[in-house]
C-alpha cells in the first residue's frame, strides 16, 4: 500500500482532496456499533471558543470550520476533531507542523501519524485528529478504522501539488515534509528559523528534513512576496555572498548554501 501511495505521489504529486460537506462527517450509521455522543461546530473566528489563542495558528493557515465529535466505538471513547481548511495546502500545512515523532506513519494508504493517544490525518481540505483516552492497541486499531471510514467518505476532487524537489525522493511524507507560511507556523513547526524570518509577513516555505547516520540535513524552497524580504532573510540568517548565491559565515555550526531559484525565491540546503 505504501508503495502504491508514493508511486502516486512520484508520478503526479497529487494529494487528492475536495471541498467538504456535512455528508463527509462520521455518523451513527457508518460503522456497526459506532455512536456519536456529542457534536459541536465552530465556524470562522468562533474557533476562539474552542482553543482560544491556539486558534490563531489555524487562522494563519486559512481555517474554515471545525466539527468536534465525541464518539463511542469498540468500547473506547474518541474525540474526533475535523478541521476544515480553505485549501488542501492549508490542511497539509497544519498537519505537517502538528505531527511529531509518530510511532507509525503513512500507513494503510493514508497520510497519517499514529501515536498511542492520537491518530492525525491529512485528507483533502481536512486536518483530522482522533484522540483516545486509553492509549491501548485496541484504541489505536479502532482509530485506524475510523480514519479509513473518513477516507472513504471524503471525496477526491481537488489536488495539491508538491514542489519539484520533493518529487520521487520521499520515503514518506509525514515527519519529512513541512509546509510553513507564517510566524506561528514557524514557531510551531520550525522554531529554529523564527529569528531568520522575523518580521516577514508573507512567505511560503517547503522544507524536507532528512536524517542519515544520525546527521540531519534540510532542503528547502523559500518564496517571498516582497522584493526586500529576501534581503531581510539573508541578513537575519547571517548569510554572506558566495559565488552566485550565499552561504553561512565561517565558523558557524550549520553549513548553509543558498541559491536563487526565481524572483523572490531561493533554494536552501543546510548540512
Amino acid at each position: 500500500m505504501r508503495k502504491f501511495l508514493f508511486s502516486l505521489l512520484g508520478t503526479a504529486l497529487l494529494l487528492v482532496a475536495a471541498l467538504p460537506s456535512r455528508a463527509q462527517l462520521l455518523s451513527n450509521e457508518l460503522l456497526p456499533g459506532m455512536k456519536i455522543d456529542k457534536e459541536v461546530s465552530y465556524d470562522g473566528t468562533s474557533l476562539y471558543g474552542y482553543i482560544d489563542g491556539g486558534s490563531t495558528l489555524y487562522f494563519e493557515y486559512g481555517f474554515d470550520w471545525l466539527i468536534v465529535q465525541e464518539v463511542s466505538f469498540q468500547s473506547e471513547k474518541f474525540t474526533v476533531e475535523d478541521y476544515r481548511m480553505k485549501s488542501c495546502l492549508g490542511a497539509f500545512g497544519i498537519y505537517s507542523i502538528n505531527t511529531f515523532q509518530c510511532a507509525d506513519a503513512d500507513q494503510q494508504g493514508m497520510i497519517s501519524c499514529l501515536n498511542p493517544h492520537q491518530l492525525q490525518l491529512f485528507l483533502g481540505h481536512c486536518y483530522i485528529s482522533i484522540v483516545n483516552t486509553t492509549g491501548t492497541a485496541v484504541a489505536g486499531s479502532a482509530s485506524l478504522t475510523l480514519a479509513q471510514k473518513l477516507k472513504e467518505i471524503i471525496p477526491s476532487e481537488e489536488g495539491l501539488i508538491l514542489p519539484e524537489f520533493l518529487s520521487g525522493k520521499l520515503a514518506k511524507i509525514t515527519g519529512e515534509v513541512k509546509f510553513i507560511q507564517g510566524e506561528l507556523g514557524l514557531q510551531n513547526g520550525l522554531p529554529d528559523w523564527s529569528d531568520y524570518l522575523a518580521g516577514i509577513k508573507d512567505f511560503q516555505l517547503w522544507i524536507q528534513l532528512t536524517k542519515k547516520d544520525d546527521k540531519e540535513s534540510r532542503s528547502a524552497l523559500l518564496s517571498f512576496a516582497g522584493k526586500n524580504d529576501l534581503e531581510i532573510f539573508l541578513k537575519q540568517a547571517s548569510l554572506v555572498p558566495s559565488g552566485a548565491g550565499w552561504k553561512s559565515k565561517e565558523g558557524q555550526s550549520e553549513k548553509w548554501t543558498v541559491t536563487k531559484k526565481g524572483e523572490n525565491q531561493v533554494w536552501i540546503v543546510v548540512n
Binding site: 473566528t45 476562539y48 509518530c102 501539488i161 516577514i200 522584493k227
Partner: protein
C-alpha cells in the same frame, strides 16, 4: 452549522498559489512582488498604544505583585506522582506541603497559607481548563489546595474556582458534585439550554464584566455572531471580569506547565487572558504586552498572592491546546508569589524539554519578551541570575 465562510477568500494569502495542473513540481506565484505589500515594503508597523499608564497610576499595596517573596521559586518533584496515567492524590498533597513550607519558611501548613490568605478573604482559584480534559489544571492539585486552605481556617464558602469560560470548567469536571460547597463560575456562560443569551437577548457574559476596569489597546476587536459570545464585547476595550474585580479578594493562580509556540503560557498568561474580554484582537501584535500589562492592573496586581504551576502533566509543543503527542509528565510543581520569576523558571523547563526533543536548538530570543515587559512594570523578577530557585526532590 453555519457554512457562511466556506467560500470566503483566504485573504491576503491568496496571492500565493500553487499550481494544481500543468507544470507540476513548480511553484506558481502569479502576484509575487506585486499587489499586496509585504511587511518589508509597508511602513514599519508600530506597536499599538495601550492604557498601561492608567494602571500604573494606582498606588501599589502591600500585597501587590511580586508579593511576599520576590524572585523566590520552589520546584518540587516526585517521580511517583503519576502511576498508570493516574495522578496520585496522596503524593500531590505531600508535594504541595513541601512547596508551601519551603517557600514560606514556616513549620506548619496553616502558617504557610496564612502568609497569603486569611479567613476573611474570598479566595479565587484561577484554574486553566481551556485545553479540555487531557490537559486541565489537575483536580488532584486543586483538591490539595482546597484541603490545605481548609486546614488554614478558610471556609469552603469563601473559595471560588473560576476561569474565563464556565462551560469549559464544567466539561473538565469542575462541577458542584466534585467540589461541594465551593462556588464555580466563569465570565462567559451558557444556560441549561446551551444559550449564551438570556430571555432579553443579553449575553450572560455582559453581566459578568466590570466596565470600571478596562485594558484599552488601539486594536479594534470585531467578531461575527458566532464568536461574540466568546469575546463578550467588541471594540478597543477588554473589560475585566467582575469575578476578579468584585467577587474575590485574593487570587491563587493554578496554571499548567504548557508551551505557547516557543514561549510559554503559565502564570501571567493564565491571569491576563483569563481575566478580560475581547482577547481575540490581542494575539497578533500585543501578545507579550497583554500578558504582562493586564497583570499590572490592580484587580490582578493587588490580588494575586500565590502561583502554583501544575507541572504534573504538561506539554512542550502544541500548547495552549492539547495535542496528545506533546503531552508529557514533568512530575513537578512550581510555586512562588512572584509570577514573573515562576514563569521564568517554567520557560527554562519547557525550553529544555523542547531542546531535548529536538524541536529547537536554543531558547528562542523572543520567547521571554513578556518577562522583560513584566520586569519593566515592576511585577517581578525575570532574570535567571536574580532568581532564588530551590529544587526539592521527594523521591
Amino acid at each position: 452549522m453555519s457554512e457562511k465562510n466556506k467560500n470566503q477568500s483566504s485573504g491576503r494569502r491568496n496571492f500565493f498559489r500553487l499550481l494544481t495542473a500543468g507544470g507540476a513540481g513548480m511553484i506558481l506565484s502569479p502576484a509575487l512582488g506585486s499587489g499586496t505589500a509585504s511587511a518589508s515594503e509597508a511602513p514599519p508597523t508600530e506597536k499599538p498604544a495601550t492604557n498601561i499608564q492608567e494602571a500604573l497610576k494606582h498606588p501599589r499595596t502591600a500585597s501587590s505583585m511580586p508579593g511576599h517573596f520576590p524572585g523566590r521559586v520552589r520546584q518540587v518533584t516526585h517521580s511517583g506522582c503519576i502511576k498508570d496515567n493516574v495522578i496520585q492524590q496522596v503524593v500531590v498533597d505531600k508535594m504541595l506541603t513541601a512547596l508551601m513550607l519551603d517557600l514560606t519558611g514556616e513549620k506548619s501548613v496553616k502558617r504557610a497559607w496564612r502568609k497569603f490568605v486569611s479567613p476573611h478573604d474570598v479566595i479565587g482559584l484561577k484554574v486553566n481548563p481551556v485545553a479540555g480534559k487531557l490537559l486541565t489544571t489537575s483536580h488532584e492539585l486543586v483538591k490539595a489546595v482546597i484541603a490545605q486552605l481548609e486546614e488554614a481556617g478558610i471556609h469552603r464558602k469563601n473559595i471560588v474556582i473560576w476561569d474565563r469560560r464556565e462551560m469549559e470548567l464544567q466539561e473538565t469536571g469542575f462541577l458542584p458534585e466534585n467540589y461541594p460547597g465551593i462556588k464555580i463560575t466563569g465570565t462567559e456562560q451558557k444556560d441549561a439550554k446551551g444559550s449564551f443569551f438570556d430571555s432579553n437577548g443579553k449575553l450572560y457574559g455582559e453581566s459578568m464584566i466590570d466596565k470600571e476596569w478596562s485594558y484599552w489597546a488601539d486594536v479594534e476587536g470585531k467578531y461575527d455572531a458566532y464568536t461574540l459570545p466568546y469575546m463578550v464585547n467588541e471594540g478597543k476595550d477588554s473589560y475585566f471580569s467582575n469575578i476578579c474585580t468584585k467577587q474575590v479578594t485574593k487570587i491563587i493562580n493554578l496554571p499548567i506547565l504548557k508551551n505557547a509556540g516557543s514561549s510559554v503560557t503559565l502564570c501571567m498568561k493564565n491571569l491576563a487572558f483569563g481575566a478580560i474580554t475581547n482577547t481575540g484582537r490581542l494575539h497578533e501584535k500585543l501578545w507579550h504586552d497583554t500578558v504582562a500589562e493586564v497583570c499590572a492592573f490592580p484587580p490582578l496586581r493587588d490580588k494575586v498572592v500565590l502561583n502554583i504551576v501544575d507541572g504534573l502533566i504538561g506539554c512542550y509543543n502544541g500548547g495552549p491546546a492539547a495535542n496528545p503527542q506533546f503531552i508529557c509528565q514533568y512530575n513537578l510543581l512550581l510555586g512562588g508569589s512572584d509570577a514573573v520569576a515562576v514563569d521564568r523558571i517554567g520557560l527554562n523547563i519547557v525550553s529544555a524539554k523542547r531542546i531535548e526533543m529536538k524541536l529547537q536548538k536554543e531558547e528562542n530570543a523572543s520567547a521571554s519578551l513578556f518577562l522583560k515587559r513584566a520586569e519593566e512594570l515592576g511585577l517581578g523578577i525575570g532574570d535567571n541570575s536574580r532568581i532564588d530557585l530551590k529544587t526539592i526532590n521527594l523521591s
